[in-house]
Each structure stands twice: as C-alpha cells, then as structure tokens.
Symmetry: C2
Subunit: 812 residues, 2 copies
C-alpha cells in the first residue's frame, strides 16, 4: 500500500508540476489584467485535484479499505495544510472575506486584511481547501482576493503618484474589485456587480456602478475566453448552460410550486445562518474543547474533514447521497432538463454518468435527494466554520438546487403527463425547479435579490425569470424577518466594527437621541495648551483625531487635528533634532565655563525625570482635561484599556522620547558626563514641555462633523452610514459637549433592537416615553423653552446686553 501511495503521490506531483507550468504560461500573457486572472487558476487547479482524487479512488477499485483511506487522507491532508498555512502566514485570511470587505467599504480601516501576506495565504489556502472536495464555496474568497489585488495594485500605483493617492479612490477601487470577484467566480458580470453592491454597501454611489460593470465584464470575459483558448469550450457560453425549452418554459399553474420553493428556502436559509452561528458559539463556549483545540489547531479541521469525507464515501453512506459527484457535477445533474422519476416521460434516466449517481437499486430518488439535502445542510454549515479560506455561497447554492429538484421531481411525479394547457401538453421541467431553488436558497442565506441575476448568467437562460424573481423575493422576505444574513452574522461573531442596520420599518419608534449615547468626557486641546498637555493626550487617549477648542471655559469647537499631526508637532519641538541642538549648545557652554557646577541642584530634576518616566502610570495627576470634574474618569471609556496596553501602541511617543534621551548619548559621552548632560536635558525638556503649543504649521480640519444633542438615533445612523464617519462631535451652540463614535452608535442600536422578543433600550431613553408620541418631525423639533433653559443654563461668559432696543443697533 505504501508503494502505491507513493506512486500516487508521484503522479500527483507530476500533475501538479504540469499545472504550475500551465499557470506560468497563463501568467505570462495575461499579466496586464492580474486581478481577474489570478482567480482563474483555482478553477483549474481544483479540477486537476478533483480529478486526482477521482483517479485515486478509481484506481483502488479492488480494496474498499484502501479506497476509503485514499478517499479520506486526501482531503484531510489538504485541509490541514490549508488551515496550517493560513494560520502561520496570515490568520485573517481564513473565512469568507465578504464581511471584512463590507466593513472596509463602510470606511473602517482594517489594514491587516489587505496585505500581501493575506493575499498569499488566501490564494494558497483557498486552492487547497477547494481541492479537498468538502462543501466549501469560493465566491467570498474570490471577492477578498480581488480586493487584495486592487489594494496591492493601488499601493503599487501610488508610487507613481496621481489619482491613486486619494483615499476615496481606493474605496472605489475596492468596490469595483468586489464586483470583479463575484463576476469572475460565476462568469456573471451583471449579477456580480449587483451581488457585490447588495452584500457590501449600505448606500451606493451610482457613479461607481459603471466602473464595477466595466471591471466585472472584462474579468468575466477573460475568464470565459481562457476556457475557449484552452479548448474546453467552443465559444463563450455560460458556465452551467441549461437547455430548457424556450417556447413554453413553465405553466402558470406551476407558479404556486415555485412560491412554495421560495418560502421553504426562506426558512431554510434562516436555519442555515442560525446553525452556522450555533456551531461557532458552541465551539467557543465549551471551554475544555476550546482550550484543547487552541493547542492543537489542526485537529478540528482534520476531525471535521474526516467526518464529512467518511459520510460521503461512495461505497459507504455516500451511495445514498451521490457522494462521488463534485459540486460542479452535482449542479450539472440538477440543472438537467429531463426528469429522473420513472413515472415521467423518460424512462431511461441514467443516460449519463452524473445522473446515474442519483439512481440507487434500493432507494427511491426522492429518498436520496432528501438525504442529500439533510446531510449537505449540516455538513456545509459545519464546513464553513473551518479556519480555512472558504465561502458559503456555493454549498448553499447546491443545496437549494437539490431542494428545487426535489420539488420538481415531485411535481413531475404528480403530473406525469405534464400540465394540460389549450390542448398542448408540456411535461414538467424539474431542472427549472432546481434553478429556482438554487437562486432562492442562496438569496435567503445572503439576503440578496441578485442571486436571480447570477442564476440567469450562470445558466445562460432567462426564461424562468418570473418564477425565480418571485421565489427569491419570498425567500428574502421570510429569511430577513428571521435571521441576519450570513455575512452580518459573521460580522457579529467576529465583532467587526460595523454598524448594524436599523430595524425594519419601526425606526420611527426609536426615541433615542445623541445626548443619550454620546461620551461627554471628550479629550481635547485648547489654543493655549502646552506641549505637556499634547504629550499626555497622545499618551492617554487612543484617538485618531483630537478636538481643538478655543479654551476650556468657552469650549467653542474650532476644529480637529489628526493624531499624526500632533505627534509631528511634539517631535518637532522636543525631538531628536532640537535635542541635539540643545546638547551642542550645552557642550559649548560647558567648554567655556568648565568649572561651573550644574547651575541648579539636580535633585528636583531627577524627581522630574522620574515623574516623566512614570507618567504613563501617573497620568491621572494632570489628566488631559476631561470635561467632567472627576479627573480619573477614563476618556472615551477606552482609557482603562488604553492604560493597560499603554506599552503597545499608544505610547510610541514616550518610548521614542525616553529611548532617545537615553540612547543618543551613549556613543558620545562618558557615564559621568552623561548624567550631568541628561540632567540638563531633562531640565530643558521640562521647559520645552511647559511652552505653549505653536499650532502655526499644523493642519487643522476646520469642519469636523458635528451633531447636536437632540439629533435622533435614526438620523445619526443615516449620516454615519452615508458619509462613512468614524466619529462626530456633538456641539451645542458651538460648544463641544460630547463625541459619538461608531462604537457608541453600534451599542445603542444593538441595545434598542429586539433581542429575543424583549426590547432592550439605553437607560436614558426611557424617561422620554410618556411625552413624545408624535410623528418623527415632531419628535425631532424641540420646544424653545427647553432650548432656552439649556442655553441660559450654560455659562458662556458674555456681556449681558439689554434685550430692548435691538431694532436699532443691529449693525454689528
């Protein structure tokens, strides 16, 4: 057996080498369109691998145990390799990638998801995972890979300057890349664009639409042209071409059956999402399992693979679920336009090899289909939780097709003569039902309507448009009311920073305002802040931008400054350059007045030094001006964590400062001198830090996004989604009173959403329940006496001008 196995490996290696050669050949002449082309290699690679597995399986015809070992070992090795490689190179490459792209397109920067390492891990991992034959999809990873290509291309092009430097342009590129990913996965340009829009966007700029179409069309074109050049196809046609009759695709009386498929798919889709989440949560909660699996990371994938492979082993249980067919072959057999049942028109249904798999001497074709659906359902839900690059679309698509086929075959058995219309008798086409089912179930799982379009492009026929549309819409209606989409579910599982959608239809009921959710304890700097304040705010608050107000008393918001700008300011003032200059000066002085003792006593300085050194811990002594009187209250509620992680990202500045103040003298000075100099340096540093910040060379954004405290949650959500904001300042009559970031907003929305029937709301929102029950326009308007009270309650120091005679002196 060993010899045989080695021989097989040798064959495999030879085929693999051939594949790589071939790929290399491809790569040469299509280097101008890398995003789409790279993707094609899988399809090819995967087919070769499947063929290898088939060949192994076929070659070992004589011995069932050897057959079984070959059947199981092959996927286990591939999946283990895929999981291990992904884990080592880039763990973020595991999974679909669409949830991450959705988050990135929302405006949140997840840089580690768009690196070259991730690209390599995703490509290699996906190739192996697909080759294993498990029920795994490739459309999510394709989207991710296309986006990776776009991001890397952007990065590459930005060396040459021009429009690629623009941040918003990159987002547009990524949006087009998502369309390319779906488009070349199914050779479906239109469906690809629409699917990517539905799956990744909340608001879509129509001007990007055109770009997506352009990119997706060319990707699909190249994808199919390669098939022609490869002599796989004669010309450019659909991927799963069907041949349903055109004259009379279906009868009106069949529409209820299509509607049933839609509704059942809706429930099925919701169940799939629920099951998938349940498995992940179960694995997480069971701490003993979890600990064990954390240690042996490859064990879980291997076990799952063994389980699934064993169950689909063709001579074993696999004979009852067409285990020997690949996903592609399964789909081809489902979409066939001839009926399988004996009662139908065609008696001899095993005319080709794919359909023969559905025939079993002991079992009815219906039983086999039911077993297939049930087994594949949980297998797919399980397989998509594996830590390998994989999607869930294709497995769900296949299950949907199986369900549709089941309904179709049942209809064909029910109406063996076909449906009688005006004398002409047309037999039922079960393949049409399979197409409808595939579109409906995949639409239900992903909450998209555009699966209908994908199906048209995939089959090359649009004759079933109305049944498909009706089924997809019904499936969506059911699924959306029960569960989030699979991608939103993953977003929640992974806790990605994405804004959930506001609930359906009842957003008028939310009477949460910005004031209920905002963080009142804003970190800010004033026009007369010292460099010490700057230093401390950089140390404590892990903010991207810091608010600039006029003064701590007036709190009038002048603008916001980016963190990098502040860091630049600080390092300009007390950085290496100025420090060296100071040392040179000090040296010169020391040389001229050698015997003079250090002008002031060193004790306090050292104390200062210590204070400065431990300022990360002592930061509560002079906190960066929280608005509230409690000085220890953490800013933005993040400081508590920020103080823990203070070593890691926040305190770059401190480290660089202290580092430089210790290291830079080492080559030049003797220890004794060094102490004296460092005392001088510290003194100088203290002086410098107490100086007022000179904002002259600092870029200030004079128009950070502002809300008022009465802005409703719904409006805030819309504005955040539309503009892709990360945070917004809350102002009251020009005064900064709070800040709202994505996090607060997300919490507020999740809190106010109905979780298992009970409506949880933020505590502050409840007291307003009794009063405001009007329309939304009413609830947004405020009555002036409140506004006036609020306004006069604030202590802006301003001259109390007499209210009379304002009609005369209004020329200000």
């Amino acid at each position: 057996m060993y010899g045989r196995y080695t021989q097989e490996l040798g064959v495999y290696a030879r085929e693999e080498a051939a594949r790589i050669r071939e790929d290399g050949r491809h790569r040469r002449f299509i280097s101008e369109r890398s995003p789409s082309i790279k993707l094609l290699e899988y399809e090819k690679g995967r087919c070769v691998k499947c063929r290898t597995q088939k060949w192994m399986y076929g070659g070992l015809d004589s011995n069932v145990i050897l057959q079984y070992l070959a059947w199981v070992t092959y996927p286990v090795v591939l999946i283990s390799f895929s999981a291990g490689f992904t884990h080592i190179v880039a763990p973020q490459a595991a999974g679909s990638g669409i949830p991450e792209m959705k988050t990135i397109l929302r405006g949140v920067v997840l840089k580690e998801y768009l690196t070259l390492k991730t690209f390599v891990a995703k490509v290699v991992g996906l190739t192996c995972a697909l080759g294993s034959g498990l029920p795994l999809g490739k459309e999510g990873p394709f989207v991710h890979i296309a986006s990776l290509c776009a991001a890397l291309l952007c990065k590459f092009m930005s060396f040459f300057g021009g429009i690629y430097e623009n941040e918003s342009r990159n987002i547009e590129m990524l949006a087009a890349a998502c369309a390319v990913g779906v488009g070349c996965c199914f050779a479906a340009p239109i469906g690809g664009v629409l699917f990517s829009i539905e799956v990744t966007s909340t608001f879509f700029a129509v001007r990007n639409y055109w770009r997506g179409f352009f990119a997706a069309t060319f990707s699909a074109f190249i994808f199919r042209v390669l098939a022609v050049w490869n002599r796989d196809e004669e010309t450019i046609t659909a991927l799963f071409k069907t041949r349903f009759r055109l004259d009379f695709p279906f009868d009106l009386q069949e529409l209820p059956a299509f509607a049933v498929i839609g509704i059942a798919s809706g429930f099925g889709g919701a169940l799939f999402v629920y099951l998938n989440r349940l498995i992940v949560q179960f694995m997480r909660k069971q701490k003993t399992i979890n600990k064990f699996l954390m240690k042996k990371r490859l064990l879980y994938p291997a076990l799952v693979t063994v389980l699934i492979s064993t169950l689909s082993f063709p001579p074993g249980f696999g004979q009852f679920m067409a285990g020997q067919l690949t996903q592609k072959e399964t789909l081809v057999s489902f979409f066939d336009n001839r009926t399988w049942t004996k009662q139908g028109m065609t008696e001899d249904f095993n005319y080709d090899i794919h359909s023969a798999a559905w025939k079993h001497p002991q079992a009815n074709v219906f039983v086999i289909l039911v077993i297939f659906i049930v087994m594949k359902f949980w297998m797919s839900a399980l397989a998509t939780t594996l830590p390998v690059p994989c999607g869930a679309f294709m497995p769900v698509f296949v299950i949907g097709a199986a369900f549709g086929r089941l309904v179709g075959e049942s209809m064909a058995a029910w109406f063996p003569e076909g449906i009688n219309t005006d004398g002409t008798i047309y037999p039922i086409v079960p393949g049409g039902y399979a197409v409808v089912g595939a579109a409906a179930l995949s639409g239900a799982v992903t909450h998209t309507v555009s699966t209908a379009v994908i199906v048209f492009e995939l089959t090359g026929q649009i004759s079933h448009i109305l049944p498909i549309m009706i089924a997809v819409i019904l499936a969506n209606a059911v699924a959306q009311s029960l569960q989030p989409s699979i991608y939103d579910s993953i977003i929640r599982i992974k806790k990605l920073p994405y804004l959930p959608e506001l609930g359906w239809g009842h957003h008028e009921k939310y009477n949460i305002r910005v004031e209920d959710i905002m963080v009142r304890n804003v970190r800010y700097i004033t026009l007369n802040s010292t460099y010490r304040d700057l230093h401390e705010i950089l140390l404590i608050a892990n903010l991207k931008t810091v608010a600039l107000v006029e003064s701590a008393e007036s709190m009038i918001l002048l603008g916001s400054i980016e963190r990098a700008q502040l860091q630049a300011l600080l390092s300009q003032h007390v950085g290496r350059e100025r420090r060296l200059e100071f040392i040179r000066d000090a040296e010169r002085k020391r040389v001229s007045v050698v015997s003079t003792p250090s002008s002031e006593e060193g004790g306090p300085k050292v104390n200062h030094e210590v204070r400065f050194q431990i300022s990360t811990e002592e930061s509560s002594i002079t906190p960066a001006r929280p608005i509230s009187p409690k000085p220890l209250k953490p800013a933005l509620k993040r400081t508590s964590t920020a103080e823990k992680n203070i070593e890691i990202p926040t305190s770059n500045i401190t480290h660089s400062l202290t580092y430089s103040s210790v290291e830079m003298f080492a080559p030049d000075f003797r220890p004794l001198k060094r102490v004296r100099i460092s005392v001088l340096i510290e003194e100088w540093e203290e002086q410098q830090l107490d100086e007022q910040v000179n904002f002259n060379n600092c870029k200030i954004d004079p128009a950070p996004f502002q809300l008022v405290e009465r802005t409703s949650l719904h409006k805030t959500h819309t504005i955040f989604s539309l503009l892709g904001l990360d945070h917004a300042y809350v102002t009251s009559i020009g005064r900064l009173i709070g800040v709202v970031s994505l996090r607060e907003l997300r919490k507020a929305i999740e809190g106010s959403m109905t979780v298992k029937g009970v409506k949880v709301r933020p505590p502050l929102a409840s007291f307003r329940d009794s009063g405001t029950s009007g329309t939304s326009s009413e609830s947004e308007a405020t009555e002036l006496h409140k506004l006036w009270d609020r306004h006069s309650g604030l202590s802006i120091p301003r001259e109390q001008q007499p209210n009379a005679s304002d009609s005369d002196d209004k020329s200000q």
Copy 2:
C-alpha cells in the same frame, strides 16, 4: 369620402367602446394593484389604434390620395388632441417625466408634477400620442405615471395615518414606482430596477433595492399574466422573444464587430442628444417662429406630424424605410435570427409579412436600412420635442436595432459561409447584432449600462451577454465623454433645480470654498424678535425655513423654524380668534362707556394702517435684519424677484390679515362704528405686533445642517447630494455667517465646469490659485493662524480671561 370617413370613425368608436369595456373588466378584478395595471391599458389601446389605422389604410387600397389623407389625418388628429388636452389640463405632463422624477427624487419638491390633473393629462395624452404611430416612446411617461400613482396612493393612504405620513417614506415609494414604470413597460423587472436607479439616483440606499424589485416583479408579472388571460400568449414569456441558437451564439472573431457597434452607437447617441437639444434651442431662439407658435400652439405638433407621416407614407417614400411597420413589428423583424441578404444561407427571406417590408424591388436591403436609420434618427429627435407625453427610449432602441442589423447583415454578406471554427461552420446571426445595437444605442443616449439587462429580459435570451456588455460599456464611454444624457440635457433645457454632477476625475482641482458661494445676507429671527419682525420676514423672504439666532449681536445659530410654523405663530397672535376676542372686549367696553371718545386720536392710527397696508412696498424701511449694514441689499438674492412677485405666494399672511381685518366686521357693524372699531383694531394690531414673539409652542429644528466657510465645493456637493439638502447654514464657531442653497451650489458648479473648453470660475476663487496646489486633504485643512486671526477678528463680546493658569480651573 366624407361618408367613408364617418363610417370609419363609427368603426373606430365601436372598437374604442369595446376597449373601454374590456378595460373596465380588467379594472374590476385587479384593483388591488393599480399602479401597474393602469399602465397596461395603453399597450392595448395603442394596438387597437394601430390596427384601426392599418385597416383604414388597407381599406382605401384603390385610391392613393385617399390613402394618403387617411394616413396623415389620423396621426395629426391624435397628436393635436394629445397636445391640446395636455396643454389645457396640465402642461407639465408633456415630455418624458424622467428628468422631473430625477429632480424630485433628489429631494426638490415639484408638487405640480404629482397631481391628479397631471395624471389624467399624462394618461390621455400618452395614449393618443402612442396611437399616432410617430416614433415616440413610452418608458419615460410610464415612469411618470407610476410615480403619479404612487404619490396619489400615498396621499390617499395618509388619510389613514401611519407610515405614509413620513416624507422620506414617500421618496422611497417614488423610487419603487420608477422601477415599476420601467419594469412593466418592458416586462423587465430587473432591468427596470437598475435602469430606474441609474437614471434617477445619485446615491442609492440599498435597503430600497428590495422594495423596487418586489414592486417591479409584480408589475411585470401582472403585465404578462394579462397577456396569457387575453389568450395572446400561451404562457408567460418575453415580450420580444428571440430564438437564437444556444450552443454557439457567436464566435470570438465576431467580437470586433460588436465593439464597432458599441463605439459607433456611442457617437450616435451623443449626436442624438445634441440634435434633440439643438432643435429645442433653435425653436426657442427664432423669436418670430416662437411668437407665432406660442399663439397657435397646436400648429407645431400638427406640422411635425404631417412631415413625419408624409415621409413614412408606404406608397411614397415610406417604401424605402418600411413605413408601414409599427415600432413593435420593426423590432420583431430586426430580432429575427435569419439573414435577409441573398448571399446568406437562406434565399427566401420574405417568409413573413414583417420581413417582407425590408425587401424592395429597386433597392438593396442595405440601402433601405441606411435610409431607415437616417430618417428615423432625425424624425425621433424631432418628434420627442413635441409638447405631448412621450419618451425617447423606444425610438432610439429601434434605431439602434436597425444599426445593429445593418452591421449584422454586412457581416453575413462578408462571411456568407459563416465563420469557421474547428471544422463546424456556424452562419452569422444578424438578429444578435440587432440586439447588441439596440442595447448600445439606448445605453449611449441614456448613459446607462442596464439597457443590457433590459434587452435580456425583453428578448428572453441571455446568450449574447458578453458582446452586449462590451458594446454597452464602449457606447457609454464614448457618449459620456461627449454629451450629457438625454435626461440631463432635458433638465438643463427645462432649467429644473437639479445639481449637475461634478466633472469626471478632476474634482481635486476645484478650489472653491463655501465662503465663495454662500449668501452672506441671511434672513433670520432672534430670540427677542417682535411679531412685526416675523411678519416682515415672512413678507419679504420666500424661504422654506428661517434661521433662529440667539441675538443680532452674537449671531449664534440656535436652530431653524419652518415657514408654516412662523405663520402659525403669527396668526395665533394676531389672527381671527384673538381679533374677535378683542372686538368682543372692545364692544363690552364700548357698551359700558358709550359716550367716551375713542381713547386716542385716530389720525396716526390711519397712518399706521396705511403703513401697514403698503408695507409690502415699504419693507426696506425695517428690513428683516440683514447682517450686512446695507439695509436694501436683497436677502438670498431672491428678494428682488420676491418683491416683484410679492402678490403671488409670499404675502399670504398679509393678505389674509388685511382681508380679515376688513371683511370680518361687515356683517356685524354699521359703517360709522366700523371705522371706529377698525381704528381700535389697528391700534391693537400695532400693539400686538410690537410684542416679543413667544416661541414656546413653536417647533424648532435644533440641528439644521451646518457647513463651515472653508468646506470645499466638492464636499458640499457630496453632502447635498447624499442628504438631499435644499440649503445649509454656514457657521463660523457657532455664529451664523451665511447660507448656501441648491441654487448657489448649482451656479458654482456650472460656473466652474468647462464650458466649451474655457474654464469659467467664480470670481472669488481665483485669488487662491497661487498658493494651494497640494492634495485635497491639505487644501481642506487650514492653518491655525488664519483661523485664529479670523476668530479674534470677530467681535464676540466675551470676557478676556487670562490665558495662564488654565490647567487648574478647567472644571467648568
């Protein structure tokens, strides 16, 4: 002849009655889905009419002159009736309707476009216009009619309260209605949704997508089901079903021909838009023609109709351009999959009546096609300028199909044996070229990609997906770089309040800021305004909302109040109720102290009365507090026009006040008493008007949209487009300093767009040219010293607190 003509009319009347009966029958059982169904009646009505014309034409076989008269009279009567009816009932019903819907969906309220009158005019006018047989389309009017249905339905449902009261919900309904309009025009739900998105939206909320699909699917479904119930069709199929071969739809070597169709269609589409605009502008500029036509409104439509009918008269010139075919028949013949040319495989091409029209004993089929294209091109451009409800999509679609067919036939003539691939010979399918041409030209004229999807749904075949996508994208690329879309062109011609798109790609170059375009002279009210101020501001400024500031000195923006709210405040204070109350009080006093003379002298009161009466003219004496010292400068630059039209919409309040103050006493008092009472009333009114406004019961929007003066034009444009704003206040550190409305923004964008190669810019933008040449992020940030200068330059009366010791007293 008179007798015959009457007889024909009788027949027509009978058929018309039958049609109406039939429609009534339909209406009964489908009343639950009115929007889509109403639209269906045209299709039917139009067919009956076409049939009538055909019958007239056929019946008069013997006499060419009679034939000619019948052929010409019929459309002239219909078009004249359509134009007359539209003009009398609702002139805004003329034209396509898509530009208006685009403007409405942008957030601009064009109320007169969504009334019942417009609905009636559009329905009747469109039916007649389509029946005339001129090259007119129906997809634009369908969109408008569906939107009208939605708007009326919303209005009707809002009687029952609930979600239909919400303004934003109405916009969503309209967006779905647009999809329905296109969807049931072509029985193309997916294409309908996409086309309506592309044509009407700038930013699209993906959550509406689902609703559009739902509505459009059901509209298309009902549309096609009716055809089945009518026994026109056996089952639900495509509208223009094609039967191209599935195995080998086209060869790769044919792709260059498809690309040529795309590029040529791009130029053709741009030319069409240009020609259409040229005709409109020519008719407007020629003042003598214009005057004459204004007097005789029906003459222009009648003349155009005579011209076009004469040229397409089948025994005359019409024989060279298949004049006897309707649009539908023309399309069916173009989409036929057999070649017409003799060199092709099929010799006998006149197998059916439609294709026979393209055969002429003297002329080649190529010549006829060229004549058809050229003639139809200018005819369509001319016909779509008629003041009747009509669209341009269908005529352009037909021309595109003709062009595609021409290329296809040429290819078939060039490769009579078909294209040789791998030994199998497949003949050229000219019908496929026609489909490609139709999609490409209509895509080029409307600047959409989704015409490709419409074509798939229209023909029921998706096999030519790649050629169509490539041709449509190329056509779009060419057309978009040359001309605006036909709808944008109409928006410009009609001067609708729509924001033009910012130019392609070079938006980094704009360095216009809000401060360059804002109106500094804002109308506002303060917390201590009197009712007189309120009255005057309502009188002078034609604003939807008025800004509320703290005081004229501080100018701190507190919020905005709607005009209606202010009117309510005013009428509450000095309206009929309180006036009557006062009169009762006065009466009581008068009764008690009869002989007392009127407490104060009447002369000044009368003067006051006069002053009040003519306050519309004298409003410049106490203007509503413009910020600038010049009191006469018109606010928002609209006052100059507002003062002219002061009688019409602005001064409702004045009129109602003075009206009531004169009329209400008539029944109760004698003339002498009336004078005295009215003197009292005036006095009381003056007192009341001088009181301070009590804002307590007034709804104030505390968060009107604010920009700062350095916000770039690009950002402003994006925010206005995204949020559908009408105006935004410009604030500087909480102080109101200006306002920007759509109008200013539009002017700024149009001013800065390259008009015929010369870049026109607003005058204020030029001085900044030298300095800022950095990236967009740089140009948006401002340096603090500027900000500080600006800030300290403003004279907010505030205590000059010492800048030191701010680290201690920051607990405010």
